[in-house]
Amino acid sequence: MDSIPQELIDAIIENVPKSSLLSCSLVAKRWRRKSQRRAFDTISFFFETEVNRWCTDFPHNSDVIPSYVRHLKIEEITSWAEPALLSRMLESLSSLTTLSMHETEIPEELPGLISRGEFGNGITTLYLGFQCYTYATMTSMILSFPNLKELCVEFCEVAPEGPLPTHPVTPQRRPLNSLELRGWWGVAGEALTKSRLTSSRLSLDVEITGIMQLLLASSETLVELKLYGAWFLRVPRPSRDDSN
């Protein structure tokens, strides 16, 4: 086993099914790190109890396994019983680059902690989807990541009323590489407009409010534009009988 070059071991681990990675990690010491890195590259949570268990299993920021995680998906935790859990977990994920929150509440204190640099500096990709946020929560969350490059906000309703973000906002942000905004209801577009975000690639549902301001803000540097123009979302097509 010792005579096998590390490159070959790495190539094997790259190509085995994910379900075999646990077994791979037990083959020998030289197999462990690479197997664990791949196994924990992307982790997903559907219940708060799972997040709680993660925090219990890896209580220290120096734990090795959390440092392998680059992509975090949290789904369907619509309300946190213990909001600090998410902060504790994010704090332990020192290599995290992608945060995806689907149908998941953003704990109130989270954007402030991120913007103060306590964690999340490495996050470059953020996805928020299928959840209702207040204007302050959404803008605070988006603006809290100093190195954000890709942002996708999908079918998020944003309450038009509400306080402004309380933490300091960077006045001039670097343009994003990609901004995708889908779902026509709410005022998510306006919230993003007020966040002064620009991007060289825009994917926009034409029904969103604030679309023109978003386009105008990015007009000088915009390279790729994708417009979703779905008629049926707003106006049911009259039948032939109706039109006669």
Binding site: M212, L215, L222, L225, K226, L227, G229, W231, V235
Partner: protein, 142 residues
């Protein structure tokens, strides 16, 4: 009817298309974008029978896109629009495409790709006819 304009916003060209009335219309107020100088790729994704009034409004707010080298219209079901392509929203889209194509600086005419086009089906006579005078239509099958 809701009237949309299609032309260079700074020259306020003539209104060219009427859009279907909609009492609940909340289409965005048009802000003239004048120019998108760096824009090279435009993808229009459709999944209904017509381009929406919002889409026409947004497109018509774009004064020019001189660096544009490709436009794609992506539709999940081109078959569903076969009998209604001559109606207003399609005409409005055709006129906008035509104007952009006339002012594009790409050599050989601006290419427009119809993505998801059914295999073995030719393009219907008259479909995007105005654009075809100055640009080239390609198809990309499912």
């Amino acid at each position: 009817m809701v009237r949309g304009f299609c032309g260079s916003p700074d020259r306020a060209e003539t209104i060219v298309t009427d859009l279907p009335d909609n009492s609940e219309d909340e289409t965005p107020s048009t802000i003239p974008l004048r120019s998108l100088p760096a824009l090279t790729t435009l993808v229009i994704s459709l999944c209904g029978s017509h381009p929406s009034p919002c889409l026409i409004k947004v497109l018509c707010s774009i004064g020019s896109a001189p660096a544009l080298t490709s436009i794609v219209i992506d539709h999940s079901s081109w078959e569903s629009i076969e009998d209604i392509f001559f109606e207003d929203p399609w005409v409005g889209l055709d006129k906008w495409l035509s104007r952009i194509a006339r002012h594009a600086e790409v050599t050989g005419g601006l290419p427009l790709t119809l993505r998801g086009w059914p295999e073995g089906r030719s393009i219907w006579e008259g479909f995007l006819s105005e654009f075809r005078e100055s640009g080239e239509i390609k198809v990309e099958h499912k």
